[in-house]
Amino acid sequence: MDRVVKQARSAINEYIRVKLNNIPYQTLNTEDFSKFIAESNKLSLKIEYGGSMPALRGLILLNNDKSNSLVLLSDENNNCWKRFTLVKEICHIFLEHEHKIENDNALKMAEALMFHVAFLPNFLPTGDTSNLSKEAEKDYETFEALLGKINPLGAEETSAVVAAIEILIPAICKDWISKWIEQGCHLNDISSKLKVPNLILEHRLKDWGLKVPPLK
């Protein structure tokens, strides 16, 4: 199993054990989950939304000594995107490999991201694969190979997105989602139950090898 998925499942399992008496969740309160992750890492956490940040869905600021964190969410996100963005940012707290990388330079971070999404745009995801290079298309199915080719800072963002998908659309949902699809439900029927963006759900269904139902 992918290392990122393993770490995400470990965080999920700890949350389920401590907060839900070992009963797996179907939909998740992201605020509660985020506070749980922060507390588990002895980290103070503030989550705010609003302001003007047209080029960003959100950002997280952290101390190297891991004592303070601040997540700012763009108000241009709808509720589902706010939830997804929050969980994605919180994943940066517990994804182990991140702490091995020098990452205190904002310009390097932004440049890495730009390079990353130009190479593999739909993994953030934007839903737009038109810029996908021929080289990326060739290697598209070999995710690990792709990660090795791109800047580690950009790869961290992909890892956080992958982890957030694992948390917000957990594997335990696959069976009922599969049955719903067989019964003719639409993509938004499922996304509205899980309160996740359609784009993210579509990505997850493809990853599971399930048919992606149409939008209503």
């Binding site: 609003g50 940040m53 047209p54 960003l56 940066h92 990452n103 730009m114 130009a118 139950k193």
Partner: protein, 68 residues
Amino acid sequence: MKTSTNEFQTWLDESIYDMVRFYPMNTSEYSVSEMLNSALNAVRGYEAGIFDTYKDAVETTTEIPLFE
């Protein structure tokens, strides 16, 4: 849009934080400087108190939903 690469880095260096991570809205439409400008706007807006505390109204549920 005015480039503020150094301004955001200056803000970061002077803040209590050491690390930043971004989630771009759609990078095929925005540049590095626009991303950093957005980050600067966000943190300045936060400091100015124009942000609100985020509350997720969605409840955690453990029951498998029924198809309606």
